[in-house]
């Protein structure tokens, strides 16, 4: 395919990626169009593994033969330059090869004008329907990655990741005049054209968001400490991602994450099975479909926790070699000038057999947690994520809304305390996972009931 992918006697592995990344963004604040932007980035990168060291180089111009040649030459030179650090063990990189083309065909792209018109209609509808609001903000954002990868292991892959998100933020005031806000997001695979932004579709979502915002205006502080919590599907997804997803990334395992010593051991209730899906769940292609990763490794599902026992890690070729495990096709790069790192793809806790209503009814004193802002993982498996919408549960009934708080705990303790998992499943693909580079990931889950630590007074 190109010269950079051809091996030389000293190369043990080379890959070349031609990567295009297009984004569009519209932001409307109280009817004012604050952002009206489209970007396009294209580049080529080459990476070489030589005598245990990596060299990487990138240059602008995804379809420029001179850039491809230059990046390949520089990557080889960089790998050899690293020899100044002395001898380093070189691994045979496992993972096989893949040949195939996977491009999502969604609806024809939405023009900026169509996007702006839909935002203006949503804003006008909110202004008319919710006159007490202090502010209404909408953001539409989509991004489209196309990657053509060629590797010395024989991989030739065309892949694409395409997702669109609508963020909606409503702001009101409490009785003291302090701002109270609530954000929700709607995400789809595809472009903004694949999001149904009609009033018919969005109206019920906004009505519910507005109703929840009114609850927050009189919210009470959560009681700090350990509580029984029912976490909605949004939270189960981020729990899967933050709590045990990151500690099961092979590079973090090599770095000393506690999970390294726990394979085969009980790390969760038997009700919990957690999987990082490569591309398909329940016969449907997922929101971040990875058929081969950015090293050209055929992607496979990684069953991280199976009925409560830690089972496997997500890996790249090198981390798989170092740990002596199979490569899962989890090495992904975000920008044209980024090297692949071990990243999650579509991470979920699988549904169980309980009903959400029954799970709530079974709580004498606890909290129902429904919306989250952001989260963080840790090598200790101690995770946290922000809660932007939650309610008290008293005697099995939903009570007052609680103010923004944070839920945290040892993932192992929290997952071991799971005593109910609902029988439904929701997927989202909004925001980014941050780990040196940003990354588009999806996460999913049912509702779960467990014990976790809430911040509060």
């Amino acid at each position: 395919m190109n010269s950079a992918a051809q091996t030389t006697p000293r190369d043990t592995y080379t890959e070349t990626r031609r990567h295009e990344l297009r984004k569009s963004r519209l932001t409307m604040v109280d009817g004012n169009l604050a952002t009206n932007s489209r970007t396009a980035e294209g580049g080529v990168s080459a990476r070489v593994y030589d005598s245990g060291y990596w060299g990487f180089a990138s240059a602008p111009g995804a379809d420029n033969a001179a850039s491809v040649e230059r990046a390949g030459r520089k990557a080889r030179e960089n790998a050899r330059t690293m020899a100044r650090f002395g001898t380093r063990k070189a691994y045979d990189l496992p993972g096989g090869s893949y040949r195939g083309e996977h491009a999502y065909q969604g609806r024809p792209a939405l023009s900026q004008k169509d996007g702006i018109d839909r935002l203006a209609a949503l804003h006008a509808w909110c202004a008319q329907r919710y006159p007490g609001l202090k502010s209404t903000q909408f953001m539409l954002q989509d991004e489209y990655h196309t990657k053509r990868l060629s590797s010395s292991h024989g991989s030739e892959v065309l892949s694409s990741i395409q997702r669109a998100v609508c963020y909606m933020t409503l702001t009101a005031e409490d009785d003291a005049g302090a701002p109270v806000e609530l954000l929700d997001r709607l995400s789809v695979k595809g472009s903004l054209a694949d999001l149904d932004l009609s009033i018919d579709a969005m109206g019920p979502l906004l009505d519910r968001l507005h109703e929840q915002l009114q609850h927050k205006r009189t919210a009470v502080a959560a009681r700090g400490g350990l509580h029984t919590v029912v976490m909605g599907p949004d939270l189960a997804g981020i729990l899967a991602h933050e709590a045990m997803g990151h500690p099961c990334e092979a590079d973090l395992v090599l770095g000393g994450a506690m999970t390294r010593d726990l394979v085969g051991q009980s790390v969760a209730s038997e009700l919990v099975t957690m999987v990082d899906f490569a591309n398909t769940y329940g016969g449907e292609e997922l929101m971040v479909p990875v058929y081969a990763d950015d090293e050209g490794t055929p992607a496979r599902d990684a069953v991280l926790i199976e009925r409560g026992r830690l089972n496997a890690f997500m890996s790249s070729r090198e981390t798989a070699a170092r740990l002596g495990i199979e490569a899962t096709g989890s090495a992904r790069a975000y920008n044209p000038n980024d090297e692949p790192l071990v990243r999650m793809r579509n991470t979920a806790i699988l549904p169980g057999a309980s009903k959400l209503d029954e799970m709530i009814a079974g709580v004498d004193d606890g909290y129902l947690l429904l919306k989250t802002s952001n989260g963080q993982a840790d090598s200790t498996t101690e995770f946290m994520f922000g809660i932007t919408l939650g309610y008290e549960i008293r005697d099995g009934r939903i009570g007052r809304a609680i103010r923004d708080t944070t839920v945290s705990g040892s993932a192992i303790k929290v997952l071991q305390s799971v005593d109910a998992v609902s029988d439904d499943m929701q997927w989202t693909c909004a925001g980014y996972c941050g780990k040196k580079q940003p990354m588009v990931v999806s996460m999913g889950g049912p509702a779960i009931r467990s014990r976790a630590h809430l911040g509060g007074v």
Binding site: A40, N78, E181, D251, S379, T406
Partner: protein, 445 residues
């Protein structure tokens, strides 16, 4: 910072870069096309960036990474309607095609009198090390690894880097602004955990940017050595084990969260949405009188230019706890009728205190020394709760065991008012120069 004519192109990259026309020429040609297209006003920025980076992975140097990127940023106004775009291609046909699309995008936007581009701004900035020194990068990576091996052997540097970056840019507007910048800098960073048997610390990190990487041993930059030592002491932890109200001492890395929150509160989005807590507080005491926050827009890795095409003179945000100014951009200013205060992308300096760090810590009856706040975004009113990471218990002024599973909650605005001591010592990461802060009245759980 030196201000002098900018060399039009980078030094040649190994292998030769593709398009080395002067950035001013590229920007000028694009601006002419925008005028011809029919835009009433426009801003064009052409830039090239290169980076060389020695990466550390799992306590070993592992990767040498060299990247080059180019970018053309275009912003156009027609009849009060605005659109912007970026492309990574200097090709004249590609730029012309994008400008045509941009015109259509702008025409579809609503009219907004607040849209405008800068005028009359002029700068020639050459700042920081312009050329990469790969041998120096390798030496600094080796020094950091040697320090780890010698001083903190239980520490695992999961990721680290010694890097040189350079960005050349040229911005022109139809209002006559002409801003050229050649900004180079070095950076060192490390991220990792310490481990003892099956016990592991939390992640910890340190890093920053500098113009002079030769000045010290690698571990002496940005608190890197202290971070590695602290992390080794955080392998064995205890929960705080009680609910109480106490004091915290925020290390500079954690104190950065307060500064960033305040800057958001006085910036565009909050001001336009009307949700800023400080919209009408200029001249008022909003923070402890110990706090004075000013810009440092010539810090390593920072250019004294705003993204909307303005030179950014020095400013004060807080003087002895009083809010001196809000920081709306040109658009935010025209939208809110507040005075325009241009700011650079980073570069802030919180004045040092008068107490040695030991005294700051010694004044805590019950509380914690906090290296990192792991928390959700604060609520609109500033309320927050978060897990404290890389932290130690303090009782009667004495540092105790490292903490785990401990949360604090409070209000960021209240925290700014409840600062009761600042250290003489500061850490300078380039983007921020901050002391340790002692703050009263946080809820522990």
């Amino acid at each position: 910072m030196r201000r002098e004519p900018v060399s039009p192109i980078h030094g040649a990259r190994p292998g030769g870069a593709a398009d080395q026309r002067p950035l001013r020429d590229i920007a000028e040609q694009a601006l002419a096309v925008m005028r011809a297209q029919g835009f009433d006003a426009a801003q064009v920025s052409a830039s090239r960036a290169t980076q060389d980076e020695v990466n550390i992975s799992h306590n070993e140097a592992s990767l040498l990474r060299s990247t080059e990127t180019c970018r053309v940023g275009l912003l156009g106004l027609v009849d009060g309607r605005k659109a912007s775009t970026e492309l990574s291609d200097f090709d004249a046909d590609a730029i012309r095609e994008r400008i045509a699309g941009l015109y259509a995008d702008a025409q579809s936007a609503p009219q907004d009198d607040a849209n405008a581009v800068s005028s009359g701004q002029h700068a020639r900035i050459v700042q920081g090390p312009q050329d990469s020194d790969l041998a120096l990068l390798a030496d600094k990576a080796a020094e950091l690894l040697a320090f780890r091996s010698r001083e903190t052997p239980r520490m695992m540097v999961d990721e680290g880097a010694a890097l040189h970056a350079r960005t050349d840019s040229h911005t022109l507007t139809t209002g006559g602004s002409d801003l050229a910048c050649s900004l180079g800098w070095y950076a060192l960073q490390a991220f990792g955990t310490a481990r003892d048997g099956t016990q592991s610390s939390s992640f910890n990190h340190a890093g920053g940017t500098t113009d002079d990487l030769r000045g010290h041993d690698a571990a002496a930059f940005f608190g890197l050595g202290e971070m590695l030592r602290d992390t080794e002491r955080q392998i064995h932890t205890q929960p705080v084990g009680a609910n109480f109200v106490g004091d915290v001492v925020l290390m500079p890395n954690a104190a950065a969260d307060l500064v960033e929150w305040l800057l958001e509160q006085i910036g565009d989005m909050q001001l336009i949405a009307g949700s800023s807590l400080y919209r009408d507080q200029v001249g008022q005491a909003i923070a402890s009188p110990l706090l004075s926050l000013r810009s440092r827009f010539d810090a390593p890795g920072v250019a004294a230019l705003s993204s909307d095409g303005f030179v950014t003179p020095p400013i004060e945000i807080l003087r002895d706890g009083r809010l001196v100014t809000l920081i709306p951009s040109l658009y935010g200013s025209r939208k809110t009728k507040l005075p325009h205060v241009p700011t650079a992308s980073a570069g802030w300096d919180l004045a040092a205190g008068t107490s040695p760090l030991a005294e700051v810590l010694g004044g805590v009856a019950r509380g914690a020394l906090i290296g990192r706040l792991s928390m959700g975004n604060p609520a609109a009113n500033g309320d927050f709760s978060g897990v404290i990471k890389n932290s130690f218990r303090i009782d009667d002024g004495t540092l105790g065991p490292a903490l785990s599973e401990t949360m604090i909650s409070g209000n960021i605005g209240r925290m700014l008012r409840d600062v009761v001591a600042l250290s003489q010592e500061r850490i300078d990461t380039g983007a921020l120069r901050l002391p340790w802060l002692r703050i009263a009245n946080l809820h522990f759980s």
